[in-house]
């Protein structure tokens, strides 16, 4: 009985996955985003090597005599105030941004999954405590909280910034996981699983969590983009990363003081930042469409 029931569920699960993949595969926009993000990932993994192919491989090999030169053959993106190659800096910036984006989102997802699942599945007191806790975090503007916390920490490395960002992003996701888990908990196959005597742990692992992940996945993708924006905004304000870190936010903050004479300082980091976020948000959008059975044609 149990075997039969489990088999049947897995079959429909596999079917659903196949149709999600089919609907993704047919959208050209999905491939554009995937390729763009793939390229960015490659840049982030080996920024030095790739920058070396196009210009200078070392972002800190600067020549003051070359200060603020517009794009040329030797420096395709031009040079900045210190005479450093902008392309190399932008490539290394991609590493920092993607790293913070993924680390913060991963931390946030883990916390949200644990707390959201316990609140949604067990309900009662756990639900009430966790829900009020998310309310408290969602009760104030995100930037305000992040600025205050970042201002009080002694060192602001990429990891610390990622931690602070995760601290303020988990509540949104936890709320989503909670409502998603709640709707799955009420479905018949979960009642059936508990009727045949499965333990709570096994029901959660095999039925509830896998079936609640769909809507969460789309939001998580978008969230990586939002975290990257948040990091660069905080850095731009002067409360995020600091030199010698290499980050798009830092490059844009310097560019702001010189953009009258050298708009290329602003252009390239801004363009990379925007394109990264655009690909992530669009991908999240496409995933949401594909995972939502109502939207599938």
């Amino acid at each position: 009985m149990t075997e039969q029931f489990v088999d049947q569920r897995e079959l429909t699960g596999a079917d659903a996955n196949r149709s999600v993949w089919a609907s993704l595969r047919s959208r050209p926009l999905f491939w554009i985003c995937a390729v763009a993000l793939g390229l960015l990932a490659v840049i982030a993994i080996m920024p030095g090597t790739l920058a070396g192919l196009l210009s200078t491989s070392d972002p800190r090999a600067c020549e003051l005599s070359l200060s603020v030169k517009p794009p040329s053959a030797a420096h395709p993106f031009g040079t900045d105030i210190q005479g450093c190659d902008i392309l190399a800096n932008v490539f290394y910036g991609a590493r920092t941004s993607l790293l913070i984006g993924f680390v913060a989102t991963a931390l946030c997802a883990i916390v949200a999954l644990v707390l959201g699942t316990s609140a949604g599945y067990y309900g009662g007191l756990a639900d009430r405590i966790i829900s009020r806790l998310t309310d408290v975090f969602l009760g104030f503007p995100f930037l305000l909280g992040a600025i205050v916390v970042l201002n009080s920490v002694a060192t602001r490395s990429a990891l610390i910034v990622a931690l602070v960002l995760a601290l303020f992003t988990w509540p949104t996701l936890a709320r989503l996981v909670r409502s998603s888990v709640r709707s799955v908990r009420e479905s018949e196959f979960v009642h059936a699983a508990s009727a045949v005597g499965m333990t709570d742990g096994r029901i959660l692992r095999e039925h509830v969590v896998p079936n609640s992940l769909g809507p969460v996945l789309a939001i998580v993708t978008t969230m990586v983009g939002n975290v990257i924006v948040a990091e660069s905004t905080l850095t731009f304000l002067g409360v995020g990363l600091r030199t010698p870190s290499i980050s798009w936010g830092l490059q844009l903050a310097t560019a702001q003081s010189y953009f009258q004479t050298a708009p290329h300082l602003l252009l390239y980091p801004g363009l990379f930042l925007t394109l990264t976020v655009l690909s992530l948000i669009t991908l999240g959008d496409i995933l949401r469409d594909a995972l939502d059975p109502k939207g599938r044609k």
Binding site: L144, S152, V229, T233, L237, A255
Partner: protein
Amino acid sequence: MIRYASRRILELAIVFVGVTFLIYLMVFSLPGDPIAALGGNRPLPDNVVAQLRDQYNLNDPIWLQYLRYIGGLFTGDLGTTFDGASVSSRMAARWPVTITLALTAWGIEIIIGIGLGLIAGLRPGGAVDRTILTATIIATSIPVFVLGVAAQLLFGLQLGWFPVAGVSDGWPTAYLLPAVVIAVFGLAAVSRLMRGSVVDTMRSDFVRTLVAKGMPNSSIVGLHVLRNSVAPVLTFLAIDLGFLLGGTVVIEGIFNLPGIGQLLFDGIRTHEGPTVVGVGTALIVIFLVISVVVDLINSALDPRIRHD
């Protein structure tokens, strides 16, 4: 209804206490001694430090300081800054700029967002719809500060249409550019919400009836579709006003507008604890009150929400 309202207000009180305590704790456990900083390069005499610490109750445990602060709030006292000014008078001087900025941005969101959503939703799948959808996705992907600096460069500096910074030109010239920049994010969301809502309304039975009885298209859209589709957008617009009021830190910095966001940011940088907590509390109150009012109005309109 009364039961639902009292439950929501009780929840609001819990969240309010939680959030303000959290902010209080974070701000007053910041490293650096604000009293020592008052003296600048010359260290203050010990008895002056002791007297000031006593005056600002810095020797009490944090929870007692917090309780005293909350007590003060109920009598309208938001505290005193370390240089002796009252926090509420500091804030009173800054609010007009931020409120003007936020309301201008809100107006832009309402007019353009609802307009674009309506145009897109009337012909879903068409070229105009696709263009608007693509444009709004791209617009939301550009971080506010990048958009702000780029707009400053293009419209302020090169074209010279708007002042580059400051509020000396008054409303609307000085506020329009920064308002458009912070409106972009909400505008995109409003237009997408509105589009979906219009598409749903156009498919509904009553619109089909109106078409069947021969009502002209313009009256159907103007009298019926617009009014029926706008309801879900209103909730978002209300919540977004809170975000606009609280999220002006970045844009006020770029365009050098002396608003509440700059006051907050300067307060954080100069360890001016009472100012930070005061502004933070004000922003939280705005935010929470708006969300409870929205919930109450929604539940009055749709009683099913109360049983959630």
